[in-house]
């Protein structure tokens, strides 16, 4: 039962750790690598016009919930204007207003940064059937005849739309199409015509306008697309080719037949769209994504802490890894160390000094401290005063090493002060007792073991990728915990025992 309990616990920890990790990685897009970047696009709309002296009101259609993208950031630049954003049927719009404009040209900016995102749940409401357009003859008759023909050559709404658009775009259009095309002068009107013709078959359709995000574009154009509802969901058609499906990099800007910008009280209105691809820290995007999903992952993550505390945790989170190394080294290999987790603390100190100079400094201080300890032993001091004396001398030694190192231009000498002094003192004390009681061999063996384990822990802890992963995904430490728990049930031999018991193998 006990065993099953352990394995159950391990399974729960593993699932929990991996589950949270997967959610953060796959759904929220937390970056796996440090300093990884996410691709974003900045789209800028520049509206310029000439104002007179009458109040000016500018309505600019802006993206609401663009399909396949999410908004990372947006801002409005409009000095002196009052700004409101409104939601309306066609989407969202920004409204700038100025009561007393000077008689001059004005320029307003709207800038939005978007990143790629999973398509959101779309509006599932089935729109009402549109009324059949009544535009008088000869259009109504032509429309009825056209719908009749297209219906005969199609099976459902999808194929009906495709066939209609094919005819609309045919280089040599038939007579009915020709009649309607006479009213069309641009792509938007062509799309409007498609909506009109589809309404003749009582098929709900509407126009969406957007930009294909593709590299850097100084002057991007809005492309109209056709949205057709087939009773279950919206289908997308390119009104100029009849091809179905929206390009994956199509940023929906607004819906409907309105123009993108409306300026009342201004003349010579021009709008320019510019697209600029760029990269930002992937984490920024992940945070935004989590916010949008109402997820607490970021709010309750280490990133919600002040920067200073974050720095502390980025080190603290490495301690479990060091502890795990100690588990491996002691229970699997069988290396002896001073104290259980002192090597981990030594490894943390090595982070400051770097490995080689850390080991040298450590050995130097321990050797010096040890010789002084033996001297004090002869004076027959009581234990606590002797320990205190060693501590004082260790501090002085560190100061001396730092000063000498600095004079010699060795900056690593300075970092010695970061060594946990109390630990050094305890090492010296422990080492001297082991030395006296069990001989120098054992003392040196344990000392070397501590350094080996500390070095291994240090090397593992200084792997950048690992540091990054535990800080971004602390839940993976649950996985480490699971493995550690498993090792807690390890009953096999330690590596060193294979040597220890080699006498048994001689006769076998």
């Amino acid at each position: 039962m006990n065993k099953r309990h352990v394995f159950g616990l391990v399974a729960v920890l593993t699932l929990l750790g991996l589950g949270i990790f997967y959610y953060k990685w796959a759904v929220l897009g937390f970056p796996l690598e440090g300093h990884s970047e996410a691709e974003v696009w900045t789209v800028e709309a520049t509206v310029s016009f000439k104002a007179g002296s009458k109040p000016v009101k500018v309505d600019l259609r802006i993206p609401n919930r663009p399909r396949a993208f999410s908004i990372l950031d947006e801002n409005f630049v409009s000095k002196g204007y009052g700004l409101t954003t409104r939601y309306e049927r066609s989407g969202r719009s920004a409204q700038w207003a100025l009561r007393r404009p000077r008689n001059r040209a004005y320029t307003l900016y709207y800038r939005v940064t978007v990143y790629r995102d999973e398509p959101e749940e779309e509006d599932q409401k089935t729109p009402p059937y549109p009324p059949t357009p009544e535009e008088g003859e000869p259009y109504d008759t032509a429309r009825v005849a056209l719908v009749e023909e297209v219906r005969a050559q199609s099976a459902d709404i999808e194929t009906f739309t495709a066939e209609m658009l094919r005819r609309l775009n045919d280089p040599s259009p038939d007579q009915y199409i020709d009649l309607f095309l006479g009213r069309v002068s641009n792509a938007t009107e062509r799309a409007e015509l498609a909506v009109n013709l589809l309404a003749g078959a009582r098929i709900p359709a509407r126009i969406i306008h957007g930009i294909v995000l593709e590299g850097q574009q100084r002057e991007a154009d809005f492309d109209p697309w056709l949205e057709v509802h087939n009773g279950q969901r919206w289908l997308y058609f390119d009104p100029s080719t009849g091809k179905q499906g929206l390009p994956s990099n199509f940023l929906v800007w607004w819906r409907g037949t309105d123009s993108v910008v409306d300026v009342r009280g201004g003349t010579g209105v021009e709008i320019n769209m510019a697209v600029q691809p760029s990269v930002v820290d992937a984490l920024l995007v992940a945070e935004q994504r989590a916010l949008q999903r109402n997820s607490q992952a970021v709010e309750y993550s280490l990133f919600s802490l002040p920067i200073k505390t974050q720095a502390v945790y980025s080190v603290l989170l490495l301690i479990p890894i060091g502890a795990f190394v100690v588990v491996l080294m002691r229970n699997l290999i069988g290396i002896k160390t001073y104290g259980t987790f002192m090597p981990v603390l030594m490894a943390l100190a090595f982070r400051e000094t770097q490995l080689i100079s850390g080991i040298v400094l450590f050995s130097l201080i321990v050797v010096l401290g040890l010789s002084i300890r033996f001297y004090l032993e002869r004076l027959r001091l009581l234990l606590v005063p002797r320990l205190a004396s060693v501590l004082i001398i260790v501090v002085l030694l560190m100061a001396a090493i730092s000063v000498i190192g600095h004079k010699l231009g060795l900056e690593t000498g300075l970092s010695v002060s970061l060594f946990p002094m109390v630990i050094l003192t305890m090492v010296i004390e422990r080492m001297s007792i082991v030395w006296e009681e069990r001989g120098p061999g054992e003392a040196l063996q344990e000392g070397a073991g501590s350094i080996v384990v500390a070095a291994a822990a240090f090397l593992l802890m200084s792997v950048d990728a690992l540091q990054h992963v535990v800080f971004f995904f602390p839940e993976l430490l649950l996985l480490l915990l699971a493995v550690t728990v498993l090792f807690g049930r390890y009953r096999g031999y330690r590596l060193f025992e294979l040597f220890r018991f080699k006498e048994f193998l001689k006769e076998g």
Binding site: R438, G492, L498
Partner: protein, 340 residues
């Protein structure tokens, strides 16, 4: 390497991890550890149960008490100062003579009483106890070891270690001090360990460090073939330690006094594994077999069981010295296959 692991397993060699998980953690509740970690309590318990231990002259518990040392020592020419919470023989000071006002340590060094005071002071401060916790010092009878081991030990007091599982003596060895061990009977300090046959109390081959040896390194005398006097009593003492402490897995250290016979020196709740090398026999199979033996048997029954199952020689009279080295075969006879 996998081959090595498999062969060790087949021989029933017990590793540290398995010892800790299957025996120490499973059979020795943590709350009972103080009974054996505190040698003073062990001694008191043993005295209550009427078991033989070295006589306690006195205890020094505070720095202030150190001045009483002279009174405690009294006229005793020989005595031992040991920390109540010492581990692995650390901090044990053996005085075996008093030339004039001074004291002679076992290694021949002559010291003044100040040295003893300092040693006790260090002991009280926790220098020899686990984790440096404050400790007390026991001053007790210095065992006059039986000359049976004279030829195979260098100074110090040889002692017998018996592993006891739920009251059944499972394996035994005698630990012989060497010059390297500084007269201490601790294997990791360089003492020689010699396996002892559970049935007859006769020594088998020896081990120094992790290597088997035939002769004592200092005296050059053969280690095997020595019959330990009072072996029955030793088995009896060891087996009774289970009822004494309730610890299911114990190492019982017994010394053999010239005049007083076997005395319990101390108990260990995490006995080491080198006893396997000394006996050239794995512990795992014997422990598993003893574990299956029903609880509640009398001391005599348990010893009988142990002798039948774990003895490797015939009676001393019919003893065939050629068998002495073949401790390995006992695992084949006694070991139940597939217990791992």
């Amino acid at each position: 390497m996998l081959g090595v692991i498999r062969r060790l397993r087949n021989l029933g060699v017990l590793g540290i991890n398995q010892r800790n998980s299957d025996y120490v953690l499973a059979l020795n509740p943590r709350r009972l550890f103080p009974l054996v970690d505190d040698k003073l309590r062990t001694k008191e318990l043993a005295i209550e149960a009427g078991m033989a231990v070295p006589e306690l002259y006195g205890v020094v518990r505070t720095q202030h008490d150190i001045r009483r040392l002279k009174d405690i020592i009294g006229e005793h020419k020989k005595f031992v100062i040991k920390p109540a919470h010492g581990s692995g023989g650390d901090g044990i000071l053996v005085i075996n003579g008093r030339p004039g006002e001074r004291f002679r340590k076992i290694d021949g060094q002559i010291v003044r009483i100040e040295e003893l005071n300092h040693h006790i002071s260090n002991t009280l401060n926790g220098q020899y106890s686990l984790g440096g916790a404050p400790d007390c010092a026991m001053i007790e009878y210095c065992v006059q070891f039986d000359p049976v081991f004279q030829a195979v030990s260098y100074q110090g007091v040889p002692d017998v270690r018996i592993i006891v599982l739920k009251g059944i003596p499972v394996m035994a060895m005698v630990r012989l001090p060497t010059r390297m061990s500084g007269g201490k009977a601790n294997l990791h300090q360089g003492a020689v360990g010699a396996g002892v046959d559970i049935r007859t109390g006769r020594t088998l081959g020896g081990v120094l460090g992790n290597y088997t040896i035939g002769e004592h390194p200092d005296t050059g005398n053969p280690i095997s073939g020595i019959v330990i006097p009072g072996w029955e009593q030793m088995l009896n003492l060891a087996a009774r330690c289970f009822e004494l402490t309730d610890l299911g897995y114990l190492g019982v250290d017994i010394v053999l006094d010239r005049d007083l016979g076997p005395l319990i020196l101390e108990l260990n709740a995490r006995p080491g594994l080198n006893i396997q090398i000394a006996n050239h026999c794995g512990l795992a199979n014997r422990l598993a077999e003893a574990d299956r033996y029903a609880l509640g048997a009398s001391v005599a029954e348990r010893i009988q069981f142990a002798k039948e199952r774990f003895g490797v020689e015939g009676t001393p009279a019919a003893g065939d010295s050629g068998e002495a080295k073949s401790g390995l075969h006992s695992t084949d006879i006694a070991g139940a296959p597939g217990t791992l």
